[in-house]
Amino acid sequence: MNTKEYISSGIIESYILGHASPEEAGILECVMKNNAEVKEAFEEAQKTLEHLATAQAVTPPSELRSKIWNKIQQEQNVEEVSPTLSTNIPEIKDHRETTERVNIQKNTNWKPYAIAASLLFLISVGGNVFMMNTQSSDKKEMALLAADKKAQAQAMERMNLKIDMFSNPDMQMVMLKGVEKHTEAKAMVFWDKKTKEVYLNAEKLPKAPEGMQYQLWAIEDGKPVNAGMYTEDKDSRIALASIPQAQAFAITLEKEGGSAIPTMENMFVMGEI
């Protein structure tokens, strides 16, 4: 897909209308930073809808201005009261007083306090359960410690490999962050600017299900290009592909062996360069 095709696909309009998926939005935002033509089309499309709004303006009733200004000031007063609340939670008397003040101001904003109270309760219950569990699990822990030691030795080995990567001055690192559905996920692409080879550190991604495999994509002018299949064996060690040019990288979960085009809804992480 070239720039013209990308623009005429209607992705820009989707984005402005709030219809683009987080993945599509991420790609567009990244492409815009690197492609003046796409950026220009984005500006134009926004202006069109702004002109529409201006052309179809309707004069509001004259008393609305003061109504809104009063409401803004009222909300601001409430906001100034709120912070004192959170710091005063342990002092019950104070708390009640503040609540009353808030009520007087017709604030229906009780939800944060209810949530805070529920959280405190949960933390206290969680604490108790944790204390009980720790006693019974001492023995298990001993066994785990032994296993841990072995794992640590392996981790150390991998760490050393990573340090080699980090210390290579030709190596560009690109942090890939979790998209909306997988906010916890992250990965790191190492891109050797000399050899153009890309390495992937993806230990932080959830284990791929049976028959599935993570596939790395390089985004070049909005177009995803296959950048190789990931296996744990290759992690931070073996190059996945050689990529001459890209503005971003992304990882999707695909059937074993990979796909020709990324399955957008299975995107886990993405990061721009």
């Binding site: 209607g10 309009e13 989707s14 219809h19 984005f42 069109t48 509001p60 109504k67």
Partner: protein, 198 residues
Amino acid sequence: MGICFILLHLDRKINTIKTTYSEEELIVLLKEKNENGFHYLYDHYSGALYGIILRIVQSKEYTEEIIQDVFVKIWNSIHQYDASKGRFYTWMINIARNTAIDYLKSKAFQNELKNQSLPDFVYNTAELSTTNNSSDYIGFNNVLEGLETDKQELIDLAYYQGYTQHEISEKLKIPLGTVKTKMRNALMKLKDLLKDYQ
């Protein structure tokens, strides 16, 4: 930035109500919670935002309620505005659209509509505008009428009725990709059309 800020500050000291601000200056004023900023915002954008909300909820009464929320939201979340993700005016338009569409979709609103016995509100704006609320439409400047019917419908569904592209694809029985390209074509036509309005 720092210098601009000081200059702006001095400027305001000398001349308390300036008649024109650039978008950037306005944003600075709003971030400072400056009352002049509010008035400038209201003077320049209330009509457009009011028009959008009115077109979405099709009732002056609700529009007056919603636009208050919209201004409060702009005022309170001005720090969240990110210029790299779009223009300021567009950001405000989207706050107005989203607030109005949420309102429209909220159950309370739907129930109230039932009580007013308005049939199938969301799907049938044409019918609505000729019935109960027709008085709202006096002087209503409908630029979209200059477009072909299918383009009008598309913009109306996506922009004023909050249909997702999937929903439009299902409703109009056209593939999703086509919805996207058609939407672009509709906006390109609209752009030409709007040239006459400027």
